[in-house]
Amino acid sequence: MSATAATNEASDLRDTALDGPELRVRLSKTWGTESGLWGALTTVDHKIIGRRYLITTFVFLFLAGLAAVAMRLQLAQPESKLIGPDLYNQLFTMHGTTMMFLFGVPVGEAFAVYLVPLMVGTRNIAFPRLNAFSYWVFLFGGLFLWISFFLNIGPDVGWFAYVPLSGPEFSPGKRADTWAQMITFTEVAGLAVAIEIVVTVLKQRAPGMTLDRIPLFVWAVFINSLVIIFALPAVVVASSFLIMDRLIGTHLFNPAEGGDALLFQHLFWFFGHPEVYIIFLPATGMVSAIVVTFARRQAFGYLALVLSLIAVAFLSFGLWVHHMFTTGLPQLGYAFFTASSMLIAVPNGLQIFCWIATLWDGRPDFKTPLLFVLGFFFIFVAGGLSGVLLASVPLDTQVHDTYFVVAHFHYVLIGGAVFPILGAIYYWFPKFTGRMLSERLGRWHFWLAFVGFNVAFFAMHISGLMGMPRRVYTYTAEMNWGALNLVSTIGALMLAASFALFLFNILRSMRVGAIAGDNPWGAGTLEWATASPPPPHNFDRIPFVTSREPLWAERDSLPVVTGLRVDNRELIASTVTEARAELREPSPEPSIWPFLAAIATGITFVASIFSPWAVVWGGALVAITLIGWFWPKGSKEDEG
């Protein structure tokens, strides 16, 4: 039994009674965020939090990029004295850890936090306070890692922190603990956002947005969130086991007491391989969005694209052992994981053909976002080809832990994720800020990045085949790796320069960029149906969706639904498959409690490195903040 709307009060003002500017002003007031510090700490607006997530992840990208530049300068010539082995170990660990956990995974979620509610036509993300909490936890985790680094307790055991190297025997001190707790911070945040996205997509789609009308970007981040939900617990288990072995004397990875070091690798890669796709899947959604808009036609093979995403998601859980081919596994294991590693190329290839077909049949407009997508095709396919090579056990054994592998995974990660993400920034920047990025600087950025990337990383294939191992801080001149390393460093500097140009373009365009208007690219999805940047409530009235590209199908006027409250935060909860409107669901007001809960969580995580009892008193602290969070306050939260 459900309550009906019979509890109306005198102040129950609906959007049926208002129109035009007055409706917008009133809704903006209801959904707005207070100005000043209090507003900043209490906001639950998905756009503000999404913007923070994006900026923070890009700051981490730049920091990790600078770590890479430092390493490239060290390797530019043989026996360089620029950086010593200890700092070098920390640098490659910080680079990998930051790129994977503080940029690669969260940046896709950051886009989703900002865009999904707009693209599915709702007013806020599901569980907006959890969203605020997740951002603060993520920020604290990232700060914890980088402050530790500057205090010389940054991790130095590689981004996957294998035992026994990272165990209590070979890594005394706190460096490996820093790595393990950073994992806990970021995974708590990542899982929270994944659940928000899943519920937003399942339950908050605008009426009429049936499953086959969901934008491809939303499909991609939805499926990605499901992968996150099932993959991230593995790394949490791995890092928790590690920290328990280090701090309270468990023996999970200690062979002398019945533990097993390979158990860590299994747990880590059961997460780690899906993680590659956690980084890649949102990027495919960005590619789909950009290709459709700039090809000026619907996606060729929408169903094939969605099914490919699902296939990739499933298969990604069956590949993890190909990271462990040199650990001495049973023959059958080799055969199975080789086959599955090759199999996943099929749905990925299918997606690429669908995008090419869309462009082929459309009237492509080669603006900067599309350039980055074309760069993605080239680089990602090249990385995929070296990936098929690496799926073969004999070849993998030969080049294991060499620069060939470094080249391969930078081709798939930078090609497969960073290029589409840069294209996505050019594409959605007008929506985020209301201004266009400079097209001329964008082209310079693209070509500098494309050439710089290939110069830097193509050379690494060869240095790897010549036997250069990864994670060495220097090499002797007799190895004859000097010239190739110098080429890689020159390429890396070009790539770094392209990012400086990108930053300049962003800072300049935020002030003097051309005014974008609602829909500067003439795109078809719902985020372009509202103002740029969108008002706090996203849409004055919730759209009624009749097509996959609503703005192309409804060129004169947008069908909308009415009847929502104006003086209280209300959005539409709809059915899972058909998106029939089901509830006028109240959406939470701003609150300081998520911020306080994140501080309590942060204190608990950091203190537990120093005393296991912190889990007990810290847990109580977190519980108090959670009760404060969930306890209803004010009459607004009781209505409904």
């Binding site: 519920v199 908050q204 069908p559």
Partner: protein, 200 residues
């Protein structure tokens, strides 16, 4: 862009139960995350059983009686839990208070029995890998017992305040849903912790 109204949703309710409620789906999401955590911890247990020639490692099997009593209590609790869910859906405040009270007592009892379980393991977490993984499985589930007990107590108090209206009944229903997960996740852990050391 101009708009044209095609439907009026004024008469829709503002909350619902079960899959109608976004919170139900959120709870399901957390069950998936935590269920995956249980599955991986259980997988790690079996992995360690597999790599060791004997199991348990230099320790007698744990005393199963506290665990068996807890299992029976948890299975029994399914009945008052289902009643609590039904009372919430009927929005019967008096019955919801009664049922939450009963579930709180069951939760306190469960946590107390859990302490006896730890005492009856006959092994410490820092003794060997068997002790480590056994304590972890039991501890992981203990955090769920405590979390749900905390949630139930907060809801019980809430039901004696002016906030005991509308949507809060849906929260009680979602809490009952979560308790099913806590019970369901215990059954395989019970077999792993108490019976695999006897059968392996």
């Amino acid at each position: 862009m101009r708009q044209r109204a095609v439907a009026d949703l004024s008469s829709l309710p503002t909350y619902g139960f079960g899959p109608k409620s976004p919170m139900w789906w959120g709870t399901l999401g957390f069950c998936a995350v935590e269920g995956m955590g249980f599955a991986l911890a259980a997988g790690s247990y079996l992995y360690l059983v597999h790599v060791n020639p004997q199991w348990p490692l230099s320790a007698p099997p744990p005393d199963h009686w506290p665990g068996t009593v807890l299992t029976l209590l948890l299975l029994f609790s399914l009945w008052p839990n289902a009643v609590a869910d039904r009372s919430a859906r009927r929005q019967n405040l008096w019955a919801v208070r009664r049922d939450l009270y009963i579930m709180s007592v069951i939760g306190v009892l469960a946590v107390a029995i859990r302490l006896y379980e730890f005492a009856g393991l006959h092994v410490k977490w820092d003794q060997n890998a068997y002790g480590s993984i056994t304590w972890i499985l039991l501890g992981l589930h203990a955090t769920h017992l405590i979390t749900d007990l905390g949630d139930t107590l907060v809801l019980l108090v809430l039901m004696f305040t002016r906030h005991a209206t509308g949507k809060r009944f849906s929260d009680v229903s979602d809490n009952a849903f979560y308790w099913y997960f806590v019970v369901a996740s215990w059954i395989p852990l019970y077999l792993l912790i108490y019976w695999v050391p006897r059968w392996a």
